[in-house]
Point group: C2
Chain length 384, copies 2
């Protein structure tokens, strides 16, 4: 503490950023340079419009998470941390602290990074005088954001080795990676989790190509992953979610890398709905299946992911309708199910640890077992 | 032969039809009552508009199959047969016969019913005087259409027993069936293949509910299966293609029934892309996985489905764009991938026989093995 908080926007201040939009370094979340609010990339408008939104209050932050203007487990964590800062400016009392935590925790049930970040913020603020809480919240939120980027860079370095080994076995022929949903820089503060090894390998000059699952119902693979890969110049192809099994049967996928919303103490992986199906296809075709995640995504309180992780159910409209660009450039939403047909919208599924080749974390590639996870993160076990 | 061909429309003539649209008995293909042309339900406009199209020439018929105004392996077979009738009216020479066969065969590469129906037509027409060919073609096409319906009714009876057994084990509690794509009455002349046991069980008063996979990229599950289940009053829920694995992990699916575009002599099943992923999930969760098919879908010339069946690749626009209804009732097409992102569009995948519980055919439920298929259809083996 001490000294004024750093009220600078990352973009404007030229902070280092891995990702670029139209050639300009960009992060997904930042403090505006006048220090009045938090800026975010509004992900609901991509890929057809790149727009920035501003969060000024706790309510703004909670709504942005709930409506998925910002999404992705690590970014949700950072956004919740900044939401606590906005809340402390409004009401720094103990009641205000508790209310802010409860309101942010209620936005999304599945990603554990949200709870982790709120616990971190609570620990940083609880025993502090009210007058210091806003500044302390901003500092801790900035640290959480920077830590996310550092974690992702480390994931990129560890994952690079996996891709480089495959490239060597293929004698430099293009490495085909399949990914599901968006675990890219848009799902984090920067760099991404599943994309970190991809961007790192691409930047190292390894020839690779990414199959991006469309990821219905919200199409994050088509609208976010394909878009950010394109911005970074990574060769890629968008495929329907149904396609991965066929590609794997025909030797067209060398490895799968996905992100995670929650990983249990025994290595079960909760991620975007449909991940489990790709893990089954990878196993059936002996394709390595990796999950990239920063350690805040691990929930040491849970063991059996299928039985214990709460699976978010979201609005029917996400399945019943799709939004896109018309031939003349308008953004339209169209209904794609019959009038009156009910729909179900489960946000996530759980891939059992037995189907996972390895967990790519900031501390290296870890076997998806209780023992290996405990050995890699002993301090997390201690605070269980 | 002998006597005038029966130039009657099925709908107008009150032919028996299992399916109803807005309470009116309807088939997917028929000869118009004035005998001048073939009428079809234009499936590209469903579920938002029910419209009929008329095929007057060979070119009309080939285009209707290629653009998927009519689709589904059994219906493609019947449509090709009627296409041969239209062709014989235009040019009944041997050259005309060969040209019509080649042009129809080229429309879709994967479904074997197309080749089967064309071979049947060729056998019926080849050694006949030109003057008789048109009438003979119409008669054989009508027989092929009627045979499809008879096959599907038999599939319904055999499949009913499977559903009834599960209903009995569940003490009458609702049986949950998952299906992929549309193997319903819209994929056949009437009744459907995968839906035949469903409609039969529903009509017998068995409580059941269907999860209909949306089936990207063309959404036949949402736009066709959900629509026809709705027309018939069968309780159902549309789910994204990603969802089935999660449902099976949680005991929410009692059995899977899908259709097929081609089944090999050893029981490998080629069906709409994504079927293989559901079969893997069914196996992983011990959910029975059945394939319903009429025998013309069996290709005794092929063994290894993954290696030997040609997989159709279709236009990028089917993945890149989606068509639906706007809030004010207009039909719009919107682009759902970023500008410049390539897409891949494989129409089918192959589910190895080892993942299939049984093949529901017009001759009963058959084990997916070479021996069982040969024993059930000895006459097909003989003509190999």
């Amino acid at each position: 503490m001490g000294g004024p908080p750093q009220f600078v926007g990352w973009v404007e201040a030229g902070y280092e950023s891995r990702m670029q939009v139209d050639g300009k370094p960009t992060r997904t979340i930042w403090v505006e340079s006048d220090g009045t609010c938090v800026g975010i990339v509004d992900q609901t408008l991509l890929p057809h419009r790149f727009a920035v939104a501003r969060l000024k209050t706790l309510v703004d932050a909670a709504r942005a998470i709930q409506t998925m203007q910002i999404r992705g487990a690590p970014l949700i964590g950072a956004a919740a941390a900044y939401g606590m800062w906005l809340a402390m400016r409004e009401d720094a009392s103990d009641e205000g602290l508790e209310r802010a935590r409860a309101s942010l925790l209620a936005t999304r049930p599945t990603a554990v990074n949200l709870r982790w970040a709120l616990d971190e913020m609570l620990a940083a603020l609880r025993n502090r005088p009210r007058g210091e809480r806003a500044a302390a919240a901003l500092q801790r939120a900035n640290e959480i954001a920077e830590q996310d980027i550092a974690n992702n860079r480390a994931i990129g370095r560890h994952g690079l080795k996996i891709i480089a080994d495959i490239a060597a076995r293929k004698h430099g022929k293009c490495v085909n990676v399949l990914t599901h949903c968006n675990a890219g820089w848009l799902a984090t503060v920067d760099v991404g989790t599943a994309t970190a090894p991809i961007y790192t390998a691409h930047d190292e000059g390894i020839a690779l190509h990414v199959y991006a699952d469309e990821t219905r119902p919200r199409n994050q693979g088509a609208s976010l992953t394909a878009w950010e890969l394109g911005q970074h110049g990574v060769p890629h192809t968008v495929i329907p979610d149904n396609t991965g099994g066929h590609l794997m049967q025909h030797g067209m996928v060398d490895l799968v890398i996905v992100g995670a919303d929650r990983v249990t103490a025994q290595g079960d992986v909760c991620n975007k709905i449909g991940t489990y199906l790709k893990a089954l296809a990878a196993r059936d075709n002996r394709v390595p299946f990796y999950v990239a995640l920063p350690s805040p995504t691990i929930d040491f309180m849970l063991s059996d992911g299928v039985a214990e992780i709460p699976i978010e159910q979201r609005a029917a409209a996400e399945v019943a309708c799709m939004t896109g660009k018309t031939a003349d450039g308008r953004i339209e939403t169209v209904q794609v199910v019959p009038d009156g047909s009910p729909v179900a919208n489960y946000g996530f599924d759980v891939t059992p640890a037995r189907l996972v080749t390895g967990l790519i974390t900031e501390r290296g590639v870890i076997e998806p077992t209780r023992a290996a996870l405990a050995a890699a993160f002993p301090e997390r076990l201690a605070t269980r």
